[in-house]
């Protein structure tokens, strides 16, 4: 038990250091950017007609003239106290914007994460256990095709088929147009989330299935499988009893590592469906020079990714008896 606790503590410290690194890297990149927040948001023409005083006031508001080190330390100090600054585009505290957006995105991401995980594992195990067979060829072909397809184009395609031609599903947004916010039902929200979630799931399956297949195929060539076969175990029982158990660890890693990919996919998919989620906010913040919001989103998404990795590491201990008893060193 003590071994597990020190392990968790070490991982947590490493995660915090990495998060600090991410925020610093993102901050440096943004302050290196030649993007002038004044020009992007006020516009060249409007800027020309302003008086020097007005410009100075605006520059003060956007914090253009402070040195980067001071700005970063100021941001970090506030962040530790739970204040992520104010979004320059939405005129709201960044934490509030992220909270709202994350709520919308979480629908999509959790759905896609679960579907792609379960389906990916199933397909991967089937393909790996029957390497070279018809099922393997079909699954592999599908996965290679999907992983070569840009997520945003797949989203466009589905939008065209189900939104424009068939007219079954809405072509965008997360709620019906022209309806009072209070009278939007859960069904409305789900109805609008179907297409984006479907796109994300379809793209997410490919990677997980391909990697699981690879691991499963390796496992099927091990000696213990040969022994089981010699003992007369059926193919089904070999896959379920030996294959699945051994593929569990890599599957956990894959599942939690896919958080980063699903987040990336959601940026593209939300843009196509004009879905007001975190990904769309990130794009708007980037294009509009909204530094506090973009920084906040980067840190939050990195925290999600690192948190996923941490959970995967901890789950190893639960799943693998060797690690649980502290026999194997990680």
């Amino acid at each position: 038990m003590k071994h597990r606790l020190t392990f968790t503590g070490k991982k947590l410290i490493r995660m915090l250091l990495l998060l600090l690194g991410v925020s610093l890297a993102a901050f440096l990149l943004m302050s290196a950017s030649p993007l002038d927040p004044l020009q992007t948001n006020v516009g060249q023409a409007a800027l020309g007609t302003m008086s020097q005083e007005q410009i100075a006031k605006l520059e003060d508001y956007w914090g253009v003239n402070d040195p980067p080190a001071q700005r970063y330390l100021g941001w970090l100090g506030d962040f530790v106290r739970g204040d992520m600054g104010t979004s320059l585009l939405y005129r709201q505290p960044v934490s509030q914007v992220i909270g709202q957006r994350l709520q919308n995105s979480l629908w999509l991401m959790v759905f896609a994460w679960v579907i792609s995980g379960v389906l990916g594992l199933t397909l991967g195990v089937i393909a790996g256990a029957n390497r070279g067979g018809l099922a393997d060829k079909l699954i592999r072909g599908y996965c290679l095709l999907i992983s070569s397809t840009p997520a945003f184009w797949l989203a466009l395609l589905l939008l065209m088929i189900f939104g424009v031609w068939l007219g079954w599903l809405p072509i965008g947004l997360s709620v019906p147009i022209g309806v009072d916010a209070a009278s939007v039902t859960l069904a409305d929200r789900l109805y609008h989330a179907i297409l984006p979630a479907l796109t994300l799931s379809i793209t997410g399956v490919a990677n997980i299935a391909l990697h699981t297949r690879e691991k499963m195929a390796d496992i099927m060539e091990q000696d213990y499988i040969l022994l089981a076969r010699a003992r007369g175990e059926s193919h089904r029982s070999i896959v379920l009893r030996h294959g699945l158990r051994n593929v569990a660890l890599p599957a956990i890693t894959l599942q939690f590592a896919s958080i980063s990919e699903i987040f990336g996919g959601s940026v593209l998919v939300e843009q196509v469906f004009s879905y007001p989620g975190l990904g769309q906010a990130a794009v708007n913040a980037g294009l509009g020079g909204d530094l506090p919001l973009l920084l906040g989103i980067t840190v939050v998404s990195a925290a999600l990714v690192f948190g996923g990795n941490l959970i995967a590491d901890l789950l190893y201990g639960v799943v693998d008896p060797k690690i649980r008893r502290g026999v194997a060193k990680l």
């Binding site: 250091l17 990495l18 950017s33 070569s148 980067t298």
Partner: protein, 273 residues
């Protein structure tokens, strides 16, 4: 094909894919002028004999635009994948020095992998002021971690291998060990990793351009074509999105197939399959 063995088939596929990609690149370079020609007398034509991919709202030939865009994508893909693969090799080899260098390298790998990929490309592209430079820097500087991790793993394993330790004890210089034992072992990994980076690089270039952080809208890039087509989808101009996207998928599939065949050819374990 029946009496061809796996290696010959793999080689043939590899060369075929290479040929098609070269042809697309060359065609795109030659059609560059034609892709910019606007002619309002032939706008919004659906695909027909003269214009296989149709024309857009300014009467531009979509086939020429698509080919030019693909050619641009392929060239950017070559450049960025090359840079990031070399970066990965250098960092992976640096871990062989062990100690704090290795810690820093693996920390950097974890750091870069922690930021969702698209977000990272967006950030780097912003830092370099978007446009061509931005997208090239973004894709090149964000794709190395996975290959660097593979190479680092190989290097660490090699360092512990008996024959390398024996060579060290026999007094062979470090440079000699690197050249005689490390390089032949790492080269296939590196080549495969390099080719397998093309598809990712091309897809990310298109995605980032699509979002508006990449190539500017005057250039006929696939990302630009597709993001423009979004405005015309609801009016039923399906060909503006379908054909350019499909061609992009085809190019990426070809690159992925090339990587796969190369892996088969270079991997000693699968020689006999």
């Amino acid at each position: 094909m029946r009496h061809w063995n796996g290696r010959r088939a793999a080689l043939a596929l590899l060369l075929l894919a290479l040929l098609v990609l070269c042809a697309v690149t060359a065609a795109g370079c030659l059609l560059g002028e034609q892709a910019m020609v606007t002619d309002f007398s032939r706008k919004n034509l659906s695909p027909c004999g003269a214009f296989l991919f149709g024309t857009d709202w300014m009467g531009r030939d979509m086939l020429a635009r698509t080919l030019t865009g693909l050619s641009l994508s392929i060239r950017i893909g070559l450049l960025t994948a090359g840079v990031s693969a070399v970066l990965a090799l250098v960092l992976g080899l640096a871990s062989a020095l062990g100690g704090w260098v290795d810690s820093v390298v693996s920390w950097c790998i974890d750091l870069v992998m922690g930021i969702p990929h698209i977000l990272l490309v967006m950030l780097i592209s912003l830092a370099f002021g978007k446009g061509f430079v931005g997208v090239v820097a973004g894709v090149a500087l964000s794709h190395w971690p996975s290959l660097a991790r593979v190479i680092r793993g190989e290097v660490l394993q090699l360092k512990g291998a008996t024959y390398v330790r024996t060579a060290e004890k026999l007094g062979v210089s470090r440079l000699q060990i690197a050249r005689r034992h490390f390089l032949p072992h790492l080269l296939p990994q590196f080549l495969t990793g390099l080719v397998l980076q093309f598809p990712h690089a091309i897809l990310h270039e298109a995605s980032v351009t699509f979002l508006g952080f990449g190539l500017s809208s005057e250039q006929p890039a696939i990302g630009v074509i597709l993001s423009e087509s979004m405005n015309y989808l609801t009016t039923g101009k399906w060909w503006l999105a379908v054909f350019p996207g499909l061609s992009l998928v085809l190019v990426v599939v070809l690159f992925a197939a090339m990587g796969e065949q190369l892996r088969k050819l270079l991997d000693p374990a699968s020689v006999h399959r």
